[in-house]
């Protein structure tokens, strides 16, 4: 695979509220906090609620 092929794949990748929010994915200092946050977000989404990356539902 070359870089052009990879670039063409970008449209198929998922989107998030902010790409920089990916910063939370492997944050070892606060792993439990982020796991809880992630659980909150996934739970809210599964219930059809809109939720931001701080875990607030709207």
């Amino acid at each position: 695979m070359n870089l052009s092929d990879l670039e063409n794949e970008i449209n198929e990748w998922g989107t998030g509220p902010s790409a920089m929010s990916a910063m939370s994915d492997v944050q070892p200092r606060n792993a439990i906090e982020f796991q809880n946050l992630r659980r909150t977000i996934l739970d809210a989404r599964s219930r059809g609620l809109e939720v931001d990356y701080a875990g607030n539902t709207h």
């Binding site: 990879l6 970008i10 998922g14 509220p17 790409a19 920089m20 929010s21 994915d25 492997v26 931001d52």
Partner: protein, 309 residues
């Protein structure tokens, strides 16, 4: 020649596009490039071997924290949003001690990032071989001017102010038309369809479309691209590469750019009208070549990396 490792999460975002452009032009400059996701062992591109420099775009795998290789965090996001999303700024600050420096692409952000870590400024460049004028484009979208909005719609990132601005533009330029692209959210679609119907915006809004596969072709079919982002301007400058005007409230770092505007409908409208009335006074492609060439970004950033080797 350097071996450069980019840490990036696979996401459909401007961050990923910018990272990929950096990688492509680093390769063209003779460097070896590897791209990895922070949570996976297998690179998504290239080979992880004898890495000289880590470039952090999304996160850094903790395994590399103490490998004695220089580490640079690219600041793709905007500081206020990084605080606002409740996660990014904290993560950036936590990671700062294991990085050697930050690299930012907007002058206005320097005081903020510098308060956390030494921060270098590089040109915000784009791939001018990809975003380029196309010959023989006959199927232009309607409008004089044809105005395009194609940001990543989400939350407050939407074209509401631009739609209001176009009402005012139409009073002066009755043939002006607005084309809304890259809509991917049903609720957003419902909202704007309701606005278009209730406010009779169908008089000037001619498209409400999803993403397009060939964004450069789309740029080539319009006269100007307008963003409602502030205080950043993200990837809207791709329009310059295609030889088209770009107007955005966040685009204000060049003193000689005549179409600076604020994030309010009246100011946006004035900038659109002024730009159309003086459209040929600026060669937008040349503007991109002088100010937004990814080759310059790579040259500048590689020079920064070399100071730390």
């Amino acid at each position: 020649m350097m071996n450069i490792l980019h840490w990036m999460k696979k996401e459909n975002s401007g961050l990923a596009r910018s990272t990929m452009e950096l990688a492509e032009y680093e390769e063209k400059a003779g460097h070896k490039v590897c791209i990895k996701q922070p949570t996976e062992d297998q690179p998504i591109y290239g080979v992880e071997r004898d890495i000289d420099v880590h470039c952090i775009h999304s996160q850094l795998n903790p395994r590399t924290y103490h490998d004695d290789r220089p580490k640079f965090m690219w600041m793709h996001g905007e500081p206020l949003s990084s605080v606002g999303n409740g996660v990014s700024m904290k993560a950036i600050v936590d990671l700062a001690p294991v990085t050697d420096a930050f690299i930012a692409m907007r002058r206005e952000e320097i005081p903020i990032w510098s308060s956390i870590k030494r921060t270098y400024l590089v040109t915000k460049g784009i791939n001018l071989e990809k975003y380029t004028p196309l010959d023989g484009i006959t199927e232009k979208l309607s409008g004089e001017p044809a105005v395009l909005y194609c940001e990543n719609w989400r939350g407050q990132r939407n074209p509401l102010y631009l739609c209001i601005a176009m009402q005012k533009v139409q009073e002066k330029l009755p043939k002006a038309r607005l084309h809304l692209y890259n809509m991917q959210d049903k609720r957003m679609s419902d909202t704007f369809n309701a606005l278009i119907k209730n406010n009779k915006w169908w008089t000037f809004i001619r498209s409400l479309q999803g993403p397009t596969k060939d964004i450069n072709l789309l740029y080539n079919r319009v006269d100007m691209v307008v963003s409602c982002l502030f205080p950043l301007y993200a990837r809207g400058i791709e329009a310059f590469g295609a030889g088209k005007a770009f107007i955005g409230p966040g685009y204000r770092e060049y003193a000689d750019w005549p179409y600076v505007c604020g994030l309010d409908p009246s100011s946006l409208a004035n900038a659109i009208i002024k730009c159309w009335e003086n459209y040929d006074k600026i060669n937008y492609r040349e503007w991109a070549e002088k100010r937004h060439n990814i080759k310059d970004t790579v040259e500048q950033s590689v020079a920064i990396y070399q100071r730390y080797l």
